[in-house]
């Protein structure tokens, strides 16, 4: 998932990626690895669990003088490597402090 915030004129003021997946090593060192022939044990699992929503709270401090932000949240599935992406959901929100 990638959260991006931009000013009204398109300048990026925030970007954060979160990765949800099980992470394994060979158990012979501390390096994460892919490939069934190497993986031997999960050491961490941030994946999306069944029947258990994954919740995040992201706080974005706006730069001085900025009172409106265009927020985009992209959820995608990366297969094999980061360049192989399947889009899942994209949500845009315009957030302003002005009333």
């Amino acid at each position: 998932m990638e959260v991006t915030a931009k000013t009204e004129d398109g300048k990026e003021i925030y970007n954060k990626q979160m990765h949800y997946h099980p992470q394994a090593t060979t158990c012979r060192d501390t390096k994460m690895t892919y490939g069934a022939q190497w993986k031997t044990q999960y050491i961490r699992d941030t994946s999306l669990q069944p029947r258990k929503p994954k919740k995040e709270t992201i706080e974005i401090d706006l730069p001085k003088g900025v009172r409106t932000a265009d927020v985009t949240v992209d959820l995608f599935y990366e297969l094999v490597n980061p360049s192989m992406k399947f889009p899942i959901q994209t949500v845009h929100r315009k957030v302003t402090l002005d009333r």
């Binding site: 099980p22 044990q41 949240v73």
Partner: protein, 287 residues
Amino acid sequence: MRVISVVLLLLVIAIPFSSFAEKAKTLDEMVKMYDSSSCKECHEEIYMQWEKSHHARPLMGVREGIFLKGVLSSAFAPKDIKKATKKNFPCFKCHLPQALDAEDAVSAEIAQAVAAGDKAIVSKLQITCIVCHNTKAILHRLQEGQPEKGIVYGSQDIAEHGDSSYKQVKKSVIMKESIFCGQCHGLGPNFDAENPYQCATLYGSYIHSYIPSGGTQSCQECHMKEGDHLIAPNWNDAGTADLLSDTILLDVQTLGYEWLRAKGDLRPKVVVNTTISHKAGHRIPDG
């Protein structure tokens, strides 16, 4: 008597889980033994779904790669690919079960094809209809025996099956159960080789997370609706993205306000709350 029972038990366990009397000596022989193309004559729609599935290219991965190549540079790599054996390919257990029932010479042929990047050969190595509807159809082998030669296993008994080699359909008691898929879609580390290895853990997630949380659906109820043998997703067609967006949902709530850090120190802030939920009966990602 007890000794005889133990010997008999060991013999049953040692017998390969196959209905073929002869072992394939060459790759071509193995491909021919497990060829399911005759199924297409009567089950055309199902066959065409299967052809687009991952089961039809279990050694190719996505976008026509050859994932098995990685094994040839791993701890399992043979010193000489011309002398590769089944022990060099723990992946065969699920990605090509018929290779476990073939002579080691077949493994050597596969190793050479993989090393050469020969997609024409590697693409012929498939989880065919016979693998699921015969080889993998019986799990309770101590009670029900081995899969029988000339029998195709399905969800019901059919006395006459119009195929020259597979003339009868017998009911497999596990065909509609999640454990059937669980045979390959894994639990965790495999300890049956000289080095541990870990592939899919999806069935482990199903039984340890989905079921305890109250889930009741089987793998087949979600992935094989109306008998669909594409068993989506296949990661190669537009349906994959549709399935993902139908299954994985994202809710976004936002708030803009000025946080009071200290007297006179208002800080403009945007809060984004996200909730990802999904309908799958297993962790995402897994396989």
